[in-house]
Subunit: 280 residues, 4 copies
């Protein structure tokens, strides 16, 4: 997305003429559509559209013109083109976090990592070496709610657009999740819905599977049941112990998480019921 | 594509308002857009659009209305929704041909295989067992032009929309190729541009590669240089002889050819200069 | 496996010197080892070895010499080099069955398909066109045990080494399964353990996954819990309905089933507890 | 490889009884074979064997016993189990180097990165943040031989087992290459042999391919012609510019390079003529 580009995201019940009407508003404002993607879900008859356009026109007028011509239930968003803030939560594993920090340091990450929060201090040197603030918030001797309260306090000043759980090994309460609706992204180390819950590589080993994988998904109240953004797998064989699987799986985890974040941060992902519509 | 669905394909130099104008024509004719895909090539500023719509309106009127509003150089096509005829050419290998015949027999192929032509008679029993006409046109003792003349004569009654080269191991003359512009599809048994020409698996073995693949492409005058439609690969290792690679590669070849044909026959492929724009 | 080649398969608790002792027996009999693979499971300390060797020596003497030097619990097999018989069971879907019939017809299948049995007559013309006996054994108005009894009677004359369930959509009773221990191979249309049971593509659609797959496994008493032989996946996206997934998944199903059968029939698969050791 | 484990690597012309004789030497020395892999190249009749064994026996005696029983041309190596030193060369791209530094920092790299050398200073802060020595050796105003002389001087104190070219964008002279026979590993940003030479992503874009990839290989005098260790690919489509391909390709490059290094450093790779035998 170059600096003069904006992203318009619309979803609403489908009806005849939507593309004509929407492109008409953009045309009237003399905006040039750079790329355009639409999708109509055939099951629910729901319409999704993503338009990238160039132009200096005041966004407010475009939005109000669109509201006028679109169905009342329409969800209309106009994404700003600045890099937004994300905060990363991690526990002790460096591979996903390190990969994000590297991309962030070399401008290959479509957002700005404002801070890293961890319930351990193990990753502090790594984070500090990239000059990113690190908050060690131990969960020991704390009720879950107390711990989350501390995290919320640490988060507040950064006002993050998204929370990224880069192998953060604790489950949040529904109350915490509710604070970041559709704004928390997790990486689960299996090709969901296989091996939900703890120790997926151990489960994979026990089942004798020939592929392992990783899943990036939004966090909802139901553990490992959030909307899937991206998944990938790699082959394994009988010679892989559970620990070998974990080692091999790390590369998939970091690539899938990074890919999913890129899609979300470039405004290519709609959440619709229990799935995502992804305009790649 | 259901029976009441039509596909509109447009490509032309990009200009502001194209989507608005095109969708306006469809809206005026009360046609319902089922799916819509656009792409603007950032290098050449060329616009591509594929619209699937429902409606009973006379196609001619839509086309003439579109011609009026589009740039003069625009290429506009309206695909009919009937199954078109294809003729398959093969030599001696059964895997690609057999796979197509199976799909054709069980309505999993978005066209009708009208006939099979081969320069050998080896595959005749297979083709006949599927009740498809088989033409054995040997190339022995014939000049290339004579052989092609015979093939053209055999093809004529079927009036095929596309010729499919399912491991047809002979090279056509430019004169023959010119008769089927953008209408001949070949499967090459390597991930082009690696290993052009003869014996790609032997070449792959000699180079010691760790992946092999297949490429479906349009046929042009330049051997193995036509526009690529689809490619895929599989891993191999040091234990594969050239012959093992050929065996393993067959599955990739047949899947890639079938995938490419599906894309072309469902009108999802634009040819633009030396590449394809594929709306998957 | 060329005609003069034999396969020796040994598995037993590991102990020092096993390879030395086994290769010594082969050396004493002047047999030339063509390829050799060993694996020791680090969890259970169990030893697996597959040796392909050339030689005309009487197999009985080799086996009795090996029995003498190996631990009492050793499982020792010497595979003959002739093509064995398999019987395929199917219901109404042609893709896996058709793929196997094609390979069988062109000697690309490391066994001989002796017959096909189906609970419907839909696939009869396909099977007959390949000159393979077809048995239509309807399950209607029959108790499960009665139906299986009829299948067993039809199977008996073929004395198959393996039963292949090529999209056979019925579950066998434990009694039937017990008749073919480690000799029934099934293709399940999901990447197990995701989506066990009925309608996996529907389940996949409902969960909004971004990959779908297929699993070839041995059949045990526990539905979809048998030892996995091979798995593969393909990417899907939001635009795939459950039916689109089923269409796309067919190619994976047939390739995975065929790959697993090749591994089993070439004697490259050990079953050990709830997993397989596969020497690829 | 745990601390008490050693790796024996043998390659020689094949002859009857090799495995028996070799395993006999290990058995006589009371060494326990943990894993064993052999391969006989059917074209050249050349034998390769890799044995991991446990035991405290003096290595010299094992080696001399093996020399006695093996053909004269045999290449026998006994790998020590300590982490060896590697030096990484890079230019300006951080992704491969950063990935290696991260793995090195968290003990996920089967060697020790002793230093990084670059012809630019751009990556110095990254390297220093990981507390690894960085040598900026500019090539400006220098003859190639002079520049290489300076690199050799900088390398000398580290006595590296391998040189890793992590997107080092200069070509070495044959004289330099000769100093590190079979000890220089490069990552090329295409699936070789497609797109040798400069700007492979530009070439890939121009050819309109649907897959891009990366190749890790040993460096020989012939540019991009060294023995291939590992390769992988990812799908692309018409919407990828050459620059998008470069961005997407980075993930493949870093994963393939890291995978190849792991294989080489764990002594799983034989170089044989123009190919590699890799025991995965």
């Amino acid at each position: 997305m170059n600096s003069n580009e904006r992203i318009l995201l619309i979803d609403c019940p489908d009806e005849k003429g939507l593309i004509y009407k929407i492109s008409g508003v953009l045309y009237d404002h003399k905006l040039n559509i750079v790329s355009n993607q639409e999708y109509v879900d055939p099951v629910s008859d729901h319409f999704f559209m993503r338009s990238a356009f160039e132009g200096t026109e005041a966004a407010e007028q475009v939005l109000s013109d669109l509201e006028e011509i679109l169905p009342e239930q329409a969800d209309i968003r106009l994404a700003s083109n600045g890099k937004r803030s994300v905060v990363v939560l991690a526990t002790k594993e460096p591979h996903c976090l390190g990969d994000l920090l590297l991309r962030n340091a070399y401008d290959e990450f479509p957002a700005t990592i404002s801070a890293v929060i961890s319930n351990h201090d193990y990753l502090e040197p790594l984070v500090r070496s990239f000059d990113i603030p690190f908050h060690h918030i131990s969960h020991e001797h704390l009720e879950r709610e107390e711990h989350e309260e501390k995290i919320l306090n640490a988060l507040a000043p950064y006002n993050p657009a998204y929370l990224v759980l880069a192998k953060y090994m604790r489950v949040f309460t529904p109350l915490f999740v509710k604070r970041f609706p559709n704004r928390m992204i997790n990486i689960h180390h299996s090709f969901l819905p296989a091996f939900v819950g703890a120790s997926p590589y151990r489960q994979a080993f026990d089942r004798g599977v020939k592929i392992i994988g990783a899943t990036a998904h939004f966090v909802t109240d139901d553990l490992d049941e959030g909307q899937i953004i991206a998944q990938d797998v790699i082959p394994v064989n009988h010679s892989y112990t559970a620990s070998d699987m974990a080692n091999a799986g790390r590369d998939v985890e970091k690539i899938v998480l990074s890919k999913a974040l890129k899609l979300v941060l470039e405004e290519k992902v709609f959440i619709y019921q229990n799935r995502t519509v992804v305009f790649e």
